[in-house]
Amino acid sequence: MSTTTTIIAMRWSITWGTIKHSSWQMVGAIVSLLMAIGICLASWQTALTLGGWLPGAGPSDRRRMGTVLILLLVGLTLGVILIQLIFLGQGSILSPSRFVLYGIPDGQLQLGLYLAGLTGPAGLTGLVCFLALTAIYARMGVGAAIMALVAALLAVMVMLALSRAVLDLVGTLMVARRTRSGLYLLVTMVIMVLCMLPSLLSSEIMNGMAVDADSMKSVADLLAWTPLGAAVRLPEDLLAGSWWALAGRLCMELATLTLCFMIGMLCLRHDRLHTGASAERSTASKGLGMLGRSRNAVDAMTARLLIYLRQDSRKLSIYPLLLVLMVLYAIIFRQMPMLIWLGPVLGALILEIPEGNALAYDGLALRMEIAAGVKGREDRLSRVRSHLIVAMPCMFLLGLVTLALSGAMKGGRDLVISLDLLAATIGLLLSGLGVAQIFSALLIYPVPSMDLPFTSPQGRAVAQGFLPMLQLLASLVIMLPTILVALPTMTKGGILPLWLPVPVALANGLIVLAAGIVLGSRIFDRRQSAILLTLDRYDSLQS
């Protein structure tokens, strides 16, 4: 058996072994398989419909179809690259580093890994899907049909080659932890914006911003001369008899494949020459930093949490989300500006989610504090302080920006209601933090490691979906006194003074926070051994 077929066989053995490992994996695999079949059938059906329409379509309609297909292919390729970046460092079974001990020549290894990717579940689905789409050209002559098949094959191959090359380059060049954290933050931001695009596009605010078809065609024409979109134009070039364009695009696709292959080879060589070299250059820190201002254990723990927050992209990524949320609501509710306050209110709740699982973020290092005899009260106080030092100014700033955007600065009733909502936001932040102090000592679920923030530890999916929801629900329910006062007050014609929700919300938040600290401290003290055992168990899921 050649090296290439061995790697492909190994890839499927591991995939099959993982599926067999648990019934949940089996269910997941069956659902994925059904989805893949569905996607392929949908592609086939779309291709048959378009294939029936194409022979009778005019040149402008054909151009429009070409534009849409190019944009879809480019979007899909960029999406695939983005997904690869998200899972960077997850230790994929197709990582070259796993084969360094076996003395496989670089060329064979690259080819084997590439073909194993192409014949993997995702690669095969893409290949079948793209081949199904070639039915579009089934009635346009044998030449066009054959060229469509070649184009489909090239499109999938280039997509995979580009994503592998980007992954190789990032993996080789971005070895420093700080650079990786920065990349994770950047990718998170891009994903957040992409996730919110459907809401933006479906809202009425996009009226007047309708995309101009001609400009899209120009963009598509340009993209058709890049490796990302060239494959789509190949059958059209053949039908139009544009032989130079056809040859040029074919050469570009082949050159891209060769270039990506060479990038992989260069990265392998670079890794071999630099493995073990220290990636981090900074040794600048001289003093104690924030610890230098500590006077007691609680101060020191607060400082430690702040030093960690600065380096922890798992928690830091929530802060840009607040900004994205506010911008989104500012756009969506342009016609009803007071509803922009939904942004800060929702932001205050979201900020508390990591605090509700704070001990898992510390991981096994928490053992050091417990071994030193730290009391639950000290631990809870330091977490509350460190969180409020950062979150409170952020929420105030967000509140002030929202105040300005909502147009309430002019004064009158809207200003007082805005102040009520600002107080409710702060109250929610405090009560959410109080609830988090109880949750974090009681219900711990696995989180990804600090070095690989995008990895998904086993057993996290269900817990990570359910427990934060429970936490958010508790944070909302416990603010019921504020809601009961605010609703009748803000309704026109209410008998209560309009400013009343301000003190009620703040008092509500502070009382819940105090109760959360007291209860959370007791639970922490009582469950120290159980917490350590849980963290020990989850640590094995992080690797």
Binding site: E280, L291, A372
Partner: protein
């Protein structure tokens, strides 16, 4: 393993133990910890004299780490008593934790702090004033040859350096009892010799060191006393000479723990069939 030993390991021992010895650095009586009904530590009793360099050895899964976790207040026992320097650990666990030094493993420290920050942090967690902790941290960094790396984050340290900083965090509050798990693993010979000197000097001042290790030669060379643990029970304890009973300590360990068997000869493990052979043919 004999049937008798297997049966002993599966059922919790219920023998009545004498009261703990307050004069010992560590006195353990009838300590029990079960996981899912199976005893990991099975009525274990042991006395560790003050001023001794005590080695705890045993095969993987013998119950060493579970025992040490219960001794250091990190894991509540199901039953039994532990006394450290005359104090009952589980009646005032926080005080007990502050009078001992436990060396954490590399993944049990806040490795995004710099070496200096971690040491000061460790001191302040134990109620030391910052200036005092800072002064001691600098002394420790110097003693462990880490002064140049004081401002570097620990996650950027080599494994040997990380080991040294872990040991330093356990010593900053000058405890009279040090509990160390595999302290010399992945430490280079020069650093290892320096570490040993520091520990020997510490024992000379009356401190007690308890180390858990798999390296029998190290235990034989460094420790004054040793306990061999298997299936959650002490199989032998005393001075190294008493436990070795005239044999090499490693042979004695294998006798007590069992499990060694005649190596099966692998016929092809002689280079035949290698690429070189094929080329010759």
């Amino acid at each position: 393993m004999s049937d008798e030993a297997r049966s002993a390991s599966m059922t919790v021992q219920t023998a009545v133990a004498p009261p703990p010895d307050p004069q010992a650095a560590v006195s353990i009586r009838a300590l029990v910890k079960c996981y899912q009904g199976r005893p990991a530590v099975n009525a274990l009793s042991l006395d560790i004299p003050r001023g001794s360099f005590y080695g705890i050895v045993g095969p993987n899964g013998a119950g060493k780490t579970t025992t040490l976790n219960m001794v250091t207040g990190l894991l509540a026992p199901d039953s039994g008593k532990v006394m450290i320097l005359g104090r009952d650990v589980w009646s005032d666990v926080d005080t007990a934790k502050r009078i001992i030094g436990v060396m954490p493993q590399g993944d049990q420290i806040f490795d995004r702090l710099t070496g200096l920050q971690l040491l000061v942090y460790s001191g302040m967690l134990r109620r030391m004033p910052r200036e005092e902790a800072l002064s001691r941290a600098r002394d420790l960094l110097e003693a462990f040859d880490l002064t140049d790396a004081a401002g570097k984050r620990i996650c950027d340290y080599s494994s040997g350096m990380a080991k040294k900083i872990c040991l330093a965090t356990a010593m900053i509050h000058s405890p009279r009892l040090l509990v160390l798990d595999e302290p010399f693993e992945s430490v280079d010979p020069v650093s290892s010799a320096n570490l040993k000197d520091i520990l020997v000097e510490y024992v000379d001042t009356g401190g007690t060191v308890v180390i858990s290790s798999h390296v029998m030669a190290l235990v034989e060379r460094m420790c004054t006393h040793v306990a061999i643990i298997n299936h959650g029970l002490v199989r032998a304890d005393g001075t190294v000479a008493q436990v070795a009973a005239g044999e090499d300590l490693e042979d004695r360990f294998l006798d007590l723990v069992g499990g060694r068997h005649q190596a099966r000869r692998i016929a092809w493990l002689n280079g035949s069939g290698s690429e070189e052979d094929q080329e010759t043919e």
